[in-house]
Amino acid sequence: MAAAALEGKDGSNVVILHQLKRGKLTPCISPFALKLETYLRIAGIAYQNDFDEPMGPKGKTPWITLNGKKVGDSQLCLELLSETFHKDLSHHLSIEDKAVARAFQIMAEDHLYWVMLVWRWIYNGGSSLPLIQTDLHFAVRYLRPIVVSRVKSQVSAQGMGHHSQSEVMEMGLKDLRAISNFLGTKSFLMGDQPIEVDCAMFGILAQILWNSLGCPYEPHFTAGELINLKGYCERMKRTFWPDWNQCLIPPLVR
């Protein structure tokens, strides 16, 4: 899909979101793709999906093409989109609240994310992938041991790979408890309106809630201390993904 051919003829901003193919249980099996697409929907920014070239600059996914310009990394994409389309969902927050929002986003994306990654690819050996995605990426389908090895090496570099399984899962549970305690009975993380951090939080939590079959956190979500996080994810899904079932592969008919 040639990005240049998709630039609007009248010069309007065209966003192409490049990501992995749809999942069976969530529209994206990557937390960052789900974050970015949810943001586009909350911000009301028109976009088109491209599932043919999911890997972009810096070897990461998702990435966007904006008026022919390629941008990688979901957070850099989000900030560029926010600036280009003049969307600031957090403008009503105090600088202290914005600081808190940033801290929670980083906890989700730079700590809890690694717990999810370790569980999916190392403790589970990637065996849950066929259960959550029909059209697996070439590397996952035929080169899974290489992907697992690469993830192990990344996890070791990041530091979490040096901990035992029980320590890692305990760290993840502490993060989830913190998010749950901070969310409390609020509709969204920072109040009654969703902001950028909710997109990031939803991206990660949706993977743990729906794409981590057999994960030890399941009982905590369904009937335990994290039940408000399940309610939060359902709320985000209901509000910003009314076509959720149609975005799955195969589509879910209810």
């Binding site: 600088i95 801290a103 906890m107 570099a157 913190a178 901070f182």
Partner: protein, 321 residues
């Protein structure tokens, strides 16, 4: 061929006589001739002897190292009951530690009033982590796991007065500092400045030991790429670090400590990280930021230093005059 080698030999010895014009040059020439003859005749024996000597030296140094470790182990295990042995890198020139995690842990020990002794001979644990502790004969690595174990053992909880929401916020900020901002610091120290500041802040990295800096730089770069931040452009990484620091500063505001007027465990982690910017990153954009836009973070560091490190100067190496 023989005349060529003879001319080369004569040329070499002309140079020798030029640099050593006294009669000892003649003795030296004779010695060189004798050694050359011995090398030609006994080459095999010399190489074999050198190999045996090197092997014996290697074996002896290994045995010595094992014996040393065994003696250290006896010393740590015989420490008084409930006295923590804190294993860490040797002291820095401007801060007691040039790594945020040992500084965090040692500050916590002081804050909690837990007796401890330092060990600078074995800074790396068996899992190659630093810092680590030995407590009543048991080894524990990772600063956070150590801190939580000590809190449980000695019944210390500096966050008991916080609400669940505040404790959650404290955790989020600690992770932002230690799992995100930390990597921007690593990239600045080891990749963008190629480890050049190490010689300024730590005596261990003075020549000739500074030869190992490039090896460390390569390892840290590889780790940062694996973690993810290392794949970004330098300007993007610095901007991410600046955003983290602004968030810390805005949250701290006018408070004495991050969660109020009394320090908590979070402050130990924040101090460990921010002290590196104040004292150990000369010329960095982060240092400039703390000196200009975010002075409350610098004042926080001074406050923690004054409260828990009254012997700060005596904990530097070399000790300031």
């Amino acid at each position: 061929m023989a005349s060529q080698s003879k001319r080369a030999w004569q040329s070499k010895h002309c140079l020798l006589r030029h640099f050593c014009p006294c009669k000892s040059a003649g003795m030296l020439e004779q010695a060189i001739e004798s050694l050359t003859a011995i090398w030609k005749n006994e080459r095999g024996l010399i190489v074999a002897s050198a190999g045996v000597a090197a092997s014996l030296y290697f074996l002896a140094s290994k045995i010595y190292a094992v014996r040393e470790k065994s003696q250290l182990r006896k010393k740590w295990n015989s420490a008084p009951k409930d006295v923590v042995i804190l294993h860490q890198l040797p002291r820095g020139k401007f801060t007691p530690s040039i790594s945020p995690f040992p500084l965090k842990l040692e500050t916590y020990l002081r804050m909690a009033g837990i007796r401890y002794e330092n060990d600078f001979t074995e800074p790396k644990s068996l899992e190659n982590k630093t810092p680590w502790i030995t407590l009543n004969g048991e080894d524990v690595a990772d600063s956070q796991i150590c801190l939580e174990l000590l809190a449980d053992k000695f019944q210390k909880d500096f966050s008991c007065h916080l609400s669940p929401e505040e404790k959650a916020t404290a955790r989020a900020f600690q992770i932002m500092a230690e799992d995100h901002f930390y990597w921007t610091g690593v990239l600045w120290r080891w990749v963008y400045t190629k480890g050049k500041t190490l010689r300024q802040i730590h005596a261990t990295f003075a020549p000739p030991l500074s030869l190992k800096i490039p090896l460390v730089c390569r390892r840290m770069k590889s780790q940062a790429i694996g973690q993810g931040l290392g794949r970004h452009a330098e300007k993007d990484v610095i901007e991410m670090g600046i955003k983290d620091l602004r968030a810390m500063s805005h949250y701290l505001g006018n408070k004495s400590y991050f969660m109020g007027e009394e320090p908590t465990e979070l402050d130990c982690a924040m101090f460990g990280m921010l002290a590196q910017l104040v004292w150990n990153m000369p010329g960095s954009p982060f240092e400039r930021l703390l000196n200009s836009e975010l002075p409350n973070l610098k004042r926080f560091c001074e406050r923690m230093k004054d409260r828990f490190w009254s012997d700060w100067d005596q904990c530097l190496l070399p000790v300031p005059l």
